[in-house]
């Protein structure tokens, strides 16, 4: 997974210079060509990658895990090289190298059609062979690493972490036997780690390796010996380069492999070196009393740094010259010498007009949608990240967002469960619904499940995709990185849980997101992944969902508070736009059309918040405030005025019983709809009159009006259902049943609604002692039409 993250970083860095080349390109073609040149450029930017990976380590814990992983492999090789059989040690080194390097090489191979035929043939065959093997190993590798990091994090976390670890272990051991040797290797690594820590003199270890190396061929004896003795810290960058370019290593002679093996071993020392440096700095910052030891450490560190700098370029240069003599290597040599931001700026300026304009347009839309106003504390963190782009920014763990799935059980299918109980296995087997495994494991598959109402399966699929993002079950509380996609997946999963009525589950999984304002939820926090991009990753609709969830949990006051906070930000952004500023209050140079689009977007968002507030007040039964809130919503959605006025009338009628005031609002609806001259307006007026008669206990007159609506709109489900209800209150049970049954049979796809079926079921129970059979017939109808999100409680079969 961490390797994949590195892969994601490279394309974004390379894309700007790619756009410089072609000027006349059709829209679909640039995407394809961008893909290929992206990875072509990756070869050139190998040096840049080195710098990037080095700088990333101190700024995020994710990279720290990557460092740990490398460290573990280093320790493993050290252990093997210490064995008496030198030849076996060499073979082991090669194996480790292949394991480390294979995933990125596979990716590179697939996207390098411009390479020479010879290289293509060799690398493609290697990639195809190793891809299958690599995937399961990578997946299994993650768990041991996460377990190790769990243990390393803190003692307090051990207690809650243990159950998760046990569950993970139990699940993994069963299906995959290959895990057993992996675990053994892990234990070996840990034992070697402990043994290495016990040793007081790391330098001695390096010396002993050098001694063993001296027995190798004389051609490299002198160079290897000298570099190890004098320039050991500098080998860290060299070894990383070699780790990322495994193909050349496979081809060289055995003596070269010995050389790289030595490099790996020295890298472990360098890793320890940098770790201790970081730790030392941290202590000095947090503990003033540690001030006196710092000068000594710094003094001791100064000498090695000084020694390293004049000689560091020499081995890199020689290595690259050996690998290739093409012009590309010269470009690679040039790139590391220039600062990263500068090279990015150059690439952007070199771009042609058309791709540049396209990129601008896209960024404009992103800026408009992603705009948000962070809190003061978050803003300060983001500014420090921006100003110390290559430095260390320490952020408390409590201020980071570390989400993970809270439950990993398959959601299942309630309809099928009922069929098993009441209709038998044969009938249940006939039910055909899509589940998380029967669709494409992507956004396309997710949309497919949502649209055919298989929302439980969609929740499962979101879980799988989030697990691939490193935020699966048991990952809550662990460091992670966020992307636009991962936030969208969380939004969809949480939204579906709310739609399914699983409010407690949604609440648990929302908890790590806090108030959706942590610094790592902003694009500015990831300048290397999203260079130049600003704003929040959190979808606006997710903020609405986060606020509304509390009212469904019985905390409407908390919902109101959260909605007010969202409203405040929307109002502030609108005020900024109307003053000619950008959304965030900064100076703006956007066009008038762009500003108008922004105003329109944020005004509609503000209206959406007010709508939620009105609904919340309705749930709180504060009808005076709710009515006023809906009247305010009309100002933002004037096209919904007749519907909202009718809704206010229904509130007064249904919730309070205030018939006179309801009648006033219904009369207002008649005035408004007279101008519309539509069928919809007339239906609304008739519906309102019917409700007035219901309020006066006049079910006969109400039934007349519902029937009149059906003459105008025979497929109106509401009028059909309501007319049937009136018949029941008039003592005509059979007629009522006939009407509802006819409606359901006529168009099951639309009329198998839980309210209609609940009414039908209730009347079945009133009608006959054979209601059980009729309810089971309804279950069969539901099974053939509805997805797994159907609320089976309305059938009263449980």
């Amino acid at each position: 997974m961490e390797t994949a993250k590195d892969g994601e970083q490279s394309p974004s860095e390379a894309s700007p210079p790619t756009q410089a080349g072609p000027e006349t390109i059709s829209e679909p073609v640039p995407l394809e060509e961008e893909g290929q040149p992206l990875y072509h450029e990756e070869t050139i930017d190998l040096g840049g990658d080195d710098f990037a990976s080095e700088e990333t380590e101190p700024t995020s814990e994710g990279s720290h895990n990557f460092g740990d992983k490398l460290n573990e492999h280093m320790m493993e090789s050290v252990l093997i090289s210490d064995s008496p059989n030198n030849s076996e040690g060499d073979v082991g080194d090669l194996g480790c190298l292949q394991d480390v390097g294979e995933p990125p090489r596979g990716a590179t191979d697939h996207r390098l059609p411009d390479s020479t035929d010879k290289e293509v043939v060799d690398t493609l065959s290697n990639g195809s062979e190793t891809d299958g093997d690599d995937t399961p190993r990578d997946i299994s590798d993650m768990t041991p690493d996460s377990r190790a990091s769990l243990k390393e994090d803190s003692t307090q976390e051990d207690v809650p972490a243990m159950p998760a670890l046990e569950n993970a272990g139990t699940e993994e051991v069963g299906p995959k036997d290959s895990l057993v040797p992996r675990e053994e290797q892990t234990s070996e690594v840990s034992s070697s780690q402990s043994s290495s820590k016990d040793e007081p003199l790391p330098v001695c270890t390096i010396f002993s390796q050098a001694t063993s190396t001296s027995s190798q061929p004389h051609l490299f004896l002198q160079d290897g010996f000298e570099s190890q003795m004098v320039k050991s810290p500098s080998f860290s960058s060299t070894s990383e380069t070699s780790a990322k370019t495994p193909p050349p290593m496979v081809q060289p002679s055995p003596s070269l492999s010995t050389f790289f093996g030595d490099t790996m071993s020295s890298n472990s020392l360098a890793s320890d070196f940098f770790d201790s440096f970081t730790t030392s700095t941290f202590i000095s910052v947090s503990n003033p009393n540690a001030g006196s030891p710092v000068p000594e450490k710094l003094a001791s560190l100064t000498a090695p740094v000084g020694e390293k700098s004049p000689d560091s370029t020499s081995p890199s240069y020689s290595t690259r010259m050996d690998r290739s003599e093409s012009g590309v290597s010269r470009a690679a040599l040039d790139v590391p010498e220039s600062p990263k931001p500068f090279s990015q700026i150059q690439a952007v300026f070199a771009g042609s007009d058309d791709p540049f304009a396209t990129a601008l347009s896209m960024s404009e839309m992103d800026r408009r949608n992603d705009a948000w106003l962070p809190s003061q504390a978050t803003r300060e963190v983001l500014m420090s990240v921006a100003t110390q782009q290559y430095g260390t920014v320490f952020i408390d763990k409590e201020n980071l967002t570390m989400p993970g799935l809270k439950f990993d059980n398959i959601q299942g299918d309630a309809v099928k469960d009922l069929m098993l109980r009441f209709l038998g296995e044969k009938a249940a087997a006939k039910r055909q619904v899509l589940n998380a495994s029967s669709v494409e494991q992507s956004f396309v598959g997710l949309k497919q499940l949502i649209s055919c109402r298989n929302w439980r399966a969609a929740v499962d699929l979101c879980g799988r995709l989030l697990t691939a993002h490193g935020q699966g079950y048991g990952k809550s509380g662990l460091p992670t990185n966020h992307t636009t996609d991962s936030l969208q997946l969380w939004f969809v999963r949480l939204a579906l849980l709310v739609k399914l009525g699983l409010f407690q589950n949604a609440e648990m999984e929302f908890e790590p997101f806090g108030n959706l304002d942590q610094p790592d939820l902003y694009y500015e926090y990831y300048p290397h992944v999203y260079p130049g991009r600003r704003g929040s990753m959190v979808p606006f609709s997710m903020r609405i969902l986060h606020a509304e969830l509390q009212q469904y949990l019985g905390n409407p006051q908390e919902s109101l508070d959260r909605l007010h906070r969202v409203k405040t930000v929307c109002s502030k952004i609108l005020a900024n736009l109307e003053q000619g500023l950008a959304e965030d209050g900064g100076l703006s140079s956007v066009t008038q059309e762009s500003r108008q689009a922004s105003v329109q977007l944020w005004r509609s968002r503000l209206g959406r918040v007010l709508y939620s507030m009105a609904n919340c007040l309705l749930l709180m039964k504060d009808y005076v405030l709710a009515v006023n809130a809906y009247l305010t919503v009309i100002k933002y959605y004037p096209e919904q005025e007749p519907q909202l006025l009718s809704g206010i009338g229904r509130i007064l009628l249904q919730q309070i019983g205030d018939i006179k005031t309801a009648e006033k609002y219904f009369q207002d609806v008649e005035k408004v709809t007279q101008k519309l001259d539509g069928l919809q307006g007339k239906i609304m007026v008739l519906m309102n009159r019917a409700f007035l008669y219901l309020g006066q206990n006049n079910f006969a007159e109400a039934h007349k009006f519902f029937t009149e609506i059906l003459r105008m709109d025979p497929t109106n489900a509401v009028a059909n259902n309501n007319a049937a209800v009136c018949l029941l209150y008039l003592g005509k049970l059979k007629d009522s049943l006939r009407q509802l049954e006819a409606m359901v049979q006529q168009d099951p796809r639309h009329y198998l609604h839980e309210s209609v079926l609940f009414n039908l079921t209730t009347m079945y129970e009133l009608e006959s002692s054979r209601s059980m059979q009729k309810k089971q017939s309804l279950l069969e109808a539901v099974a053939s039409k509805e997805g797994d999100s159907f609320n089976t409680q309305c059938l009263k079969l449980a």
């Binding site: 609709s541 009628l653 489900a717």
Partner: protein
């Protein structure tokens, strides 16, 4: 209110369901923007849902009526409605079906059947339907008794009954408080103010349609719960016309004795019947409730046996100059002679002249005595005359008289100038 299926030997099935008002279906709106991962999918799902409002899918309160899900609570003053259905579950014709519905309360038994006529014939899978209504007037346990008698094809007479038990609860807590206002010292009868506290002790909001006081024959009543604004009557409770659960509202009424009763001073004594409150409210979808309190009663204020009234007093007096008042002391008891002693106590502004503790001598029942008293005021402005004490030496009981009158004190200099 369904119960267990009837015994298998009976050809007919009797089902009863309480008919509270239906409710409107509520939606849970979940939306997203087009840039989000689902795109327009969530919004489209809401449009396809028949229970959402066409064109306003985010509005939570829909238009779909849903039947009641349970028996619910029934309160005193509301109407109990039920659907009674007798269904022929058998495969043979049934004859001479008679359905009877009675309601047994703690004090009486009421017949609720709409018609007492027997149904001649009921074919298989047909039913007899009835909707009964009853305005509940008692609190406590109620039992709905449904009895069915019929004749089988073979001429056999069959009979069975079902009992449905439910509780009637109290919807409102009504408390009253009386205030006496004395408008005229010479008048024995006075205005009475009634404050009624009404608390909603149900679990749902109540729209208070009417809260009025029906006075007894002795009083006229004025309601003080609305204000005339721009020619329109506006409630003093604001725009919110309903009581939330456990909310309390205070209503104020002014009662005046009618003229024919006011002139008879002796009649309005002891326990007095004021009137009764009439309360009408509405709940879910216009469900109506109505209650009347029992007759409200009030103790008329008593003046005791000795009455002191003012006969004469000047309107305006000069600062620090003596002035005279005339008082009348009346023995109001019907049979007892009093031996009275008059004491005069100074206040911060009023100073009495003359001897305190003067013996007034014997006062016979229903007789009066006039006194001339002298006092002066040392403070300007409107001052109260207080500080008179009458003691009945026979019973050793003292009557205190304060604030018996007011007098305007002006300075002499001002008067001289005028």
């Amino acid at each position: 209110m369904e119960v267990n299926p009837p015994k298998q030997e009976h050809l007919l099935a009797l089902k009863v369901m309480r008919l509270t008002k239906p409710t409107l279906f509520t939606n849970i709106p979940v939306t997203c923007e087009e840039k989000d991962l689902p795109g327009d999918l969530f919004n489209q799902l809401m449009k396809d849902d028949p229970s959402t409002v066409n064109g306003a899918e985010i509005l939570m309160l829909g238009e779909m009526l849903t039947l009641p899900q349970n028996f619910g609570n029934i309160f005193l003053g509301e109407t109990f409605s039920s659907y009674i259905s007798v269904h022929n579950d058998s495969n043979q014709v049934v004859k001479d079906i008679l359905v009877k519905a009675d309601l047994q309360t703690s004090s009486q038994r009421l017949n609720l059947s709409a018609s007492n006529a027997a149904v001649a014939e009921l074919k298989p899978d047909c039913c007899i339907d009835d909707v009964i209504h009853h305005e509940v007037k008692e609190i406590g346990t109620h039992i709905l008794v449904c009895a069915v008698s019929y004749t089988t094809q073979g001429g056999e007479k069959m009979y069975f009954r079902k009992f449905f038990k439910f509780q009637v609860l109290k919807p409102l807590d009504v408390k009253t408080k009386f205030y006496n206002a004395e408008s005229d010292l010479s008048s024995v009868t006075d205005e009475v103010f009634l404050e009624a506290q009404i608390q909603n002790i149900t679990t749902s909001p109540m729209f208070m349609e009417k809260v009025s006081l029906e006075p007894s024959i002795m009083y006229n009543v004025t309601e003080l719960n609305s204000v005339n604004q721009a020619g329109e009557c506006v409630s003093t409770f604001g725009s919110r016309g309903y009581l939330q659960p456990m909310d309390t509202r205070q209503y104020l009424y002014c009662l005046k004795p009618k003229k024919e009763f006011a002139e008879k001073a002796g009649i309005i004594k002891g326990v007095t019947v004021i009137g009764k409150l009439d309360i009408v409210w509405k709940t879910n979808l216009g469900e109506r409730g109505r209650l009347q309190t029992s007759q409200l009663q009030r103790m008329a204020p008593g003046y005791g046996d000795v009455r002191l009234s003012l006969e004469a007093i000047p309107d305006t007096v000069n600062l620090e100059e003596p002035f005279h008042i005339t008082c009348k002391i009346t023995n109001c008891s019907s049979e007892r002679t009093m031996d009275l002693v008059l004491e005069m106590c100074n206040t911060t502004s009023i100073h009495w002249c003359g001897i305190s503790g003067r013996q007034l001598g014997k006062l016979h029942p229903s007789s009066s005595l006039c006194l001339a008293l002298t006092l002066l005021s040392s403070v300007q402005g409107l001052q109260s005359v207080s500080g008179l004490r009458l003691t009945d030496t026979f019973l050793k009981r003292t009557y205190e008289y304060d604030d018996i009158a007011q007098v305007c004190v002006v300075s002499a200099a001002v008067e001289v100038e005028a």
